[in-house]
Each structure stands twice: as structure tokens, then as C-alpha cells.
Amino acid sequence: MLSTLLEFALVLGVMTGLAVLMGKWLTRVFTGAHHALPERYTYRLLGIDPRETMGWARYGSALLLSNAAMMLLGYVILRLQAVMPINPLGLAAQTPDLAFNTAASFITNTNWQAYSGETSLSNFSQMAVITFLMCVGATSGVVAAAGFIRGLSRSSSGDIGNFWVDFTRTLYRVMLPLCVGMALVYVWQGMPQTFASQVLATTLEGAQQQLIVGAVASFESIKHIGTNGGGFFSMNAAHPFENPTPLTNALHILSMLLIPSALTYTFGSMLLQRRQGWVFFGTFLVMFIGFLALVYGAEQNGNPLLTQAGANQSLSLEQSGGNMEGKELRFGIADSSLFIATTTAATTGSVNTMHDSLTPMGGFVPLAQMMLNCVFGGDGVGFINLIQYALLTVFLVGMMIGRSPEFLGKKIEAREMKLVMLSVLAHPISILGFTALAALWPDTLASLNNLGPHGFSEVLYAYTSGTANNGSAFAGLNANTPFFNTTIGLAMLIGRFFTLLPMLAVAGSLAMKKTVPAGAGTIPTATPLFMLLVVFVVLVVGGLTFLPALALGPLVEQLQLLSGQTYN
């Protein structure tokens, strides 16, 4: 127990230190005047002028169109997989609906996988489609945050930077160097990194074992640094080749939190409002610790029905105990819980535990974090989501005391609030609308792996994960059907771009406004009080929106578990 608390404290402490270092580095990347040589060559190749400044509409269009082109390229390669090189296992092409789902999933930084990696993707596709889209999808998110923060920092000016410069710099100076370095550490710890596709072994008892290998380490590093989350293998970061040791597990967790937490610091530095940055960091952290405590408690307590069946789930020096169904022994309950809280907070979606087998309250945590979608959040978008809630908070508080709301010295008016509400509402409409549709769809029952409230949770989880661009799953659900592939694919696109684009518009609109000096009626936003207000608004808005759906899933399941109700 003590070692668990120390472990959590250690990881969160290291995360805070790294947030400062990384935050400083990102500030230099976003604001530096100098273009490095490879960057200048890239600009020439792309045919762009690095001195051009863009308004939000042009910046957003460049992001949207380049993402569309990359998604299309990925789609085409997946459809042509059978005739592409480096396919020694002779795997067939993905079907149109599955390829659409996969390409949408990886460009939106969701990394939902309706396929299983070992049996459906050649090593060519793992590199040319998956690794590629993971790199550019994550970079796009960070770039959106760069434009967004710049918009907040400007006054009386319509420009929020140059998309191509931000993209190239983020990729060259942040993503690629970090990923190569981390991949080598991962290989040292035991992850394969090879051009071979498989090794055939003869086990001690004489059976044949087919070991699937490939460029796993380079895949894992961008997967976590980029808060992507798709697995090389079907069982993702639970697979010993994707996550061989407790150390790689901790590095995965720190990688996921690295950029989302650092952006609060970057924001503070770029606006010269360090305190404000720390207030946002604190907002993230308070919610994270609450959810972590909830999932750890639930999983360590275990499943009372397993105890009745004769399993010993108590914690002792010789075993970690707890609900070990769908968990790996080297991680036990503590490392699994930390991973669950992190992967759904930072909307990565990689899993080292099968979420479908979590206890009801354990499964409540990933669902709730994805519904709120701003407990750290994914690379770039998490920060943008938090600002959206901060704007909502100043608006609500302004209403209560009868003052016109201000944020960072800018007046918040009808146009900004409309855009914020569009973004706030798109999220639940996509989650609840699609879940309702699936609940009525006649073939849904055939896709479920569990019945009763847990079956409903499987569907709710799928659309929440898609919309929040998380990508983790209650994986018992067979989502590889035309209906699920199409609707979850749409949910991912809605969740990504109906948040990013309205919020870029907000940034563009704020950038044009004059800064007004703080007056007596201005609510100070760089205070612990404001931090708690934001947490309160996030929880109230999230609770009012999603509690009815949660009541039908994990909450009723918990009550039934306690009364011993089971389902065939």
C-alpha cells in the first residue's frame, strides 16, 4: 500500500518536472525566429513561404486539408495492402468500411482499432499507414494548440501563426527526436525492433509457437508521446512485446502525460502569465488524482463474486491480489490503475489492462474521463478543451454576479460563447446520439460480448472513446461491422474537428480584440478559487449530460454486482 502511494507520487512528481522542461522547449519551438537547415529545405519542397502569417480560417483550412490528404493516402494503402511490398504473411486488404474506420481513427489521434494488428496488417502497413498517421495526427494536435495559444496571446491582430512552420518544427524538433530516443530505451528493455515479421519457436513441451515481431519500439514511442494509443498487437500495451517491464510501463505513462501537461506551462510562458499556466495544470491534476483513487480502490477491492468462487484477492507480500481478470501480473493492480487513469485522461487509448473486465466502478473511471475529455486530454486538444471550459466558467460566473465576462484581458461576447457551446455540445450529441442509434439498431446485440448493463456499457464506451478520440475499448464488443465501423468513424471525425475548428475560431476572434485593463468587476482567473470553479463547472456540465447514460451502465451494474446478479 505504501509502495503504491510512493509510486503514484513518484510518477506524478516526475511528470511535473518534465512538464516544465518540455513546456520551455515547446515555447522555444513555437516562438523561435530561426529556421534550421532541414526545415528550410522542407519549406522549399512544400513550396511555402515561412514568413507568411495566417488568420485562423486559413490556418484551420491548412490543418483540415492536409489531414484529409493524409487520411486519403492511408485509406488507399490499406485498400491496396495485398499488392504492396513487405507482406510476407500474405495478409489481405482491409474492407472499405474498415479501411475508412482505420484511416479516420489514426488521423484524428483516436487510434480505435476494429482490427487486430497481428492478423490484419502487414509490416508495410504498420509503418506506411499506422506509424505515419500516428506521427502526423499527433503533430497536428500540438500545432492546433500552438495556433490556439498564439491567438490568445495576440491583441488587435488577426494572425495566429504559420501552419506549415509550426507543423514542420513540431515534427522535427519535438516528435521525431523524442521518439527515436525513447524507442532505443524501449528496445533496451526488450521490445523488438526488426524488419522480420515472425519467428517460429518450439516450446519446452514441444508445441509450435509463432512469435510475431516487427518495428515495435518505434511504433510504441510515437504511440505514447503522440497520445495515439493504437496497438501493434491486438492486446496493445498488455502484450509483453509492447510493454515488457514495469519500467516501460512507467515510461509509457510519462510519455502520454508529457505534452498535454507541458502545454499548460507553454501557455503560461507564451502569455507571460506563469501563474495562470499553473492554475490550469492544477485543474488537470486535481481531477486526475480523484479518478486515479477511484479506479485503484475499485480494482484492489476486487470482485466479490470471484472470492465466492474460491479466488484469494487479498493484497499480501506474495501477491498483489485484486481483480486480476484481464490484467498482467508484472503490473498488478497499482500499475494497471495508473495506466487506466492516464490513458483515458490523456486520451491515448492504449491499454495495459482489458477495460471490459474491470469492476463496474473501475470501468466508470475511463468512461467518465473520456466524457469530460479535459483531464489533461490528448496532445494539444486537451488543453484546448480545458480553455473551452475556462471560458464557460468565466461566462457562468459573470452571469451570476452580473458583469460582462472577461478572460485574459479580452471581453467574452456572444460570438465566442456560441462557438464554445457548439464545441461543448458536439461532444455529447455524438456520444449519446450514436449510442441511442446503436441501442435501436437490430444487429447490435450480436456484437455484444456481455449482456445486461455491461453490454450497454460496451456500446456507450465505444462511442465515447471514438468521440473523445481516445481509442481504448471495452474490447469484447465486435466493432468490425459496417454499422459500427461507419458510425464510430463519423464519431471520431465529429469529435476531433467540431472541437478543434470552433476553438481555433475562438482564438482567432480573441486575437483581434483589444486587451482591456482589469477592472473591479474582473474575476481573477489565476487563483486556486478559479481552479476549483473550473473543476466544478467541468463536473457539473459532464454530470448533467452523462449521468443518465452512466446510470444505465456501470452504476446499475455495481448495484447488481453487490446483490450477486449475473448474466449468461
Binding site: 492536409s66 501477491q319 508484472r330
Partner: protein, 219 residues
Amino acid sequence: MTTQSIFKGLLRPVLVSAVFFMLLTGFAYPAFTTVTAQLMFPFQARGSLIERDGLVMGSALIGQHFTRPEYFHGRPSMTLGADPQDPSKSVSQPYNAGSSGASNLGPTSQKLLDQVAARVHAYRQDNGLAADAQVPVDAVTASASGLDPHISLANARLQLPRVARLRQIPEAELLQLVDQHTRARTFGLLGEPRVNVLQLNLALDARLPSRQPPIAASE
């Protein structure tokens, strides 16, 4: 700003960036990492393969299916494999590293509870435990990957008398061997104490080769 000026000159960078960044991040990045990793850590980069008499016996990181009583047994595994009779169907094939998998059964699933009850019963019989003895949870629940190479210390201690008896090793001596293959928490904090089943069984064989000949793969 007019619509025209928003999109002006975007076509070329949009198209070129898609192809160029695919080549850079999809090929150059993994290829560079692979070459460097193969030079620096050739053993790990190839999958931490264990060889005995020139034959690949498996990977140190991937669990194997142990059924014989003179070996320590790993955790239950829910991986599937193609049915030899009808390749279009899947059947249970524990520790199939070609297709990792879990049960994905929820906590109120009767199927899960039946499986656990059956495993508890079998574990008590295999290890000569009392009919109401509590069994370590890792021994009767399926792992996430289906390839978990480890068991808990509690699980290893309960299997120890059986293996010691069948291999005619004093229990104290076998306990030492188990301890040698036990890993503590990293830095005293990360992960859980654990026993690597494959490496322990390899060490058992090295000490006293199993008298039964290996079963041929075709059987």
C-alpha cells in the same frame, strides 16, 4: 478575408506534405530506429529469443503453455487459434503468440464465474490443496495478453511441493531456484514481484532434464 485567399496556394503543400511526411515518418523513422537498435541491442531487437541446442525455444518475454505436472504452470490464457479441422473457425489455443487475446468478460458474467470456479477446482486438485483452500487470484484469472510470462510468488509457492515431488528435488532447494527467478519491484516501487515461468522451467530442465521425450508438434 475572402474564401479565395483562404485556400490560395494550399494545394501544393497539402499534397506534397502528405507524401513527404509519409516517407519520413513511415519509412525513414522506423528504418533508422531499426538499424540503430539492431547495432546497439541485437538480442532484444530480435525478440529476446532463447535458444537451446541451436533451436529457438521461445522468447524470454512471452509465456508458454505448460500442462505437464513436473513444470510450473503459467496463468490461464484465453488466446484462440484456427481449428485444425476447419481453419475458418477459432478454438481455444492457450499462449498462441500469433494472436494475443483476453476473455473480455465483465465482472457479472456467469461465464467468467464458471471458468474461475472450474480453474479453482483444478488448481486445488493438481496441487493437493484442501477443498476450501483459497487460490491466488492470478492462478485462476486470464491475463490481458494471454501471453503473460509471470506468476505471483504466492502461486509459485503453492505449486512448489508438486514440482519438487515429481522431480525429486528437496523443497528447500527448489525454493532457492524459485527465488533466483523471482524479480523484485523495479527501484523498489514499480511493478510487482514476479516469477518468470519459462525461465524457471528452463532452469529446472537444465538441472534435471525431464525424462519424458518432447511431444512432436504434429500430435
